[in-house]
Amino acid sequence: MPAADDAAADLIAAHVQGRLPPPLDALIAAHLEMAPAARDFGDALEALAGRALDEAPGVALADRDAALERIFGLAPVVTPPRPPAQRSPDALPRALARFTEGTPEDWRFVWFGIRRRPLGRSGDFTAELLRIAGGGRIPQHTHTGLEATLVLSGGFSDGDRSFGPGDLTVTGPEDHHAPVADPEGCLCFTVVEGAGVRLSSRLGRAVADLVTAVTGGR
């Protein structure tokens, strides 16, 4: 089993247990929506967690009867099963649509052919959408912590691996990588831990700093 799958499996397990910070939780939930094999694995772990809930001992409520009375005071809601809402192929996965709700559609220059839409920080994690033009190349870079990337549409390749919609890559601080977008371009959701992405070449860093200085990051 490739190490990359292990890292993804760890994240799926942490998601099921509700231990992920919100940006990573949204990323994994979106991955599970998009990738059936991952969803089967996630559902298996959910089943395990459900069984654990059934078997574990409980802690008595402070006032069981009052709690029950309060709930009986609520009117049951009759909700006939609805057919799934029609979703356009470009629509974000539901988990991401919820996560991006209320953030501005603000695309900023990163590098030639690459734009990013910041989605904010949460604790140690920075989330953003990345749009890479066809054939666009992200300069070789490293990060100080974990980087998780979910392909939403299009695709990219990195070394000898290629990634399409629903695919997840998880890389650590030691990995240098330089993804290249497929001809149709690529839209990704990325979550980066720590100080964020650091370009590997001094020239790359100098150009990126200059562009940021001139454009104010836009």
Binding site: M1, F41, E46, A52, L53, L61, A62, I71, V77, R94
Partner: protein
Amino acid sequence: MPQDSPVPLADRHAALAARVAASADRQAFAELFDHFAPRLKAHLMRNGCDAATAEELAQEVLAVLWTKAGLFDPAKSSLATWLHRIARNRRIDAVRHAKVRDFDDEEPMLQPQAPESAEVGLDRRRLEVRVGAALDGLPEEQRRLVRLAFFDELSHSEIAGVTGLPLGTVKSRLRLAFGRLRQALEALGGAV
């Protein structure tokens, strides 16, 4: 395993939930409440909620069952799995927004899933049984770690503390166990 096969329990819960959905049957609901509310409270406390918050969230989760029992689909999961998911999302929303928002009708597990294509859709009930069998079939050491992670809900470093194993060993053995679970799913017909 200290319990009988989980399936009869799941069937019992599904039958009670169906009575709640069909006729707001208070007796059926009270039986489910007495089973799940204390367990949800304990689960939430293991995950960092204080007793009062855990009790409040547990009641909210059970209130969802009372008001929306018709949305529970026993073909997709056991009631325990369904309630666990609702509890998790509630807890995460509580952390993220500092308050629990109104019930979200779009919450995926409360909606019928998009029809799954024939070649990928696993029968969810068979999956639950299979997962249980796969867990029982793990080597003793891996099963113990999975139980500590999922049943006692300890973090990896807490497990290392309890077992005296190095953190790296805890992680790698859990990964082996996950690999076995994925193999069991493959054998079930899913492309995992």
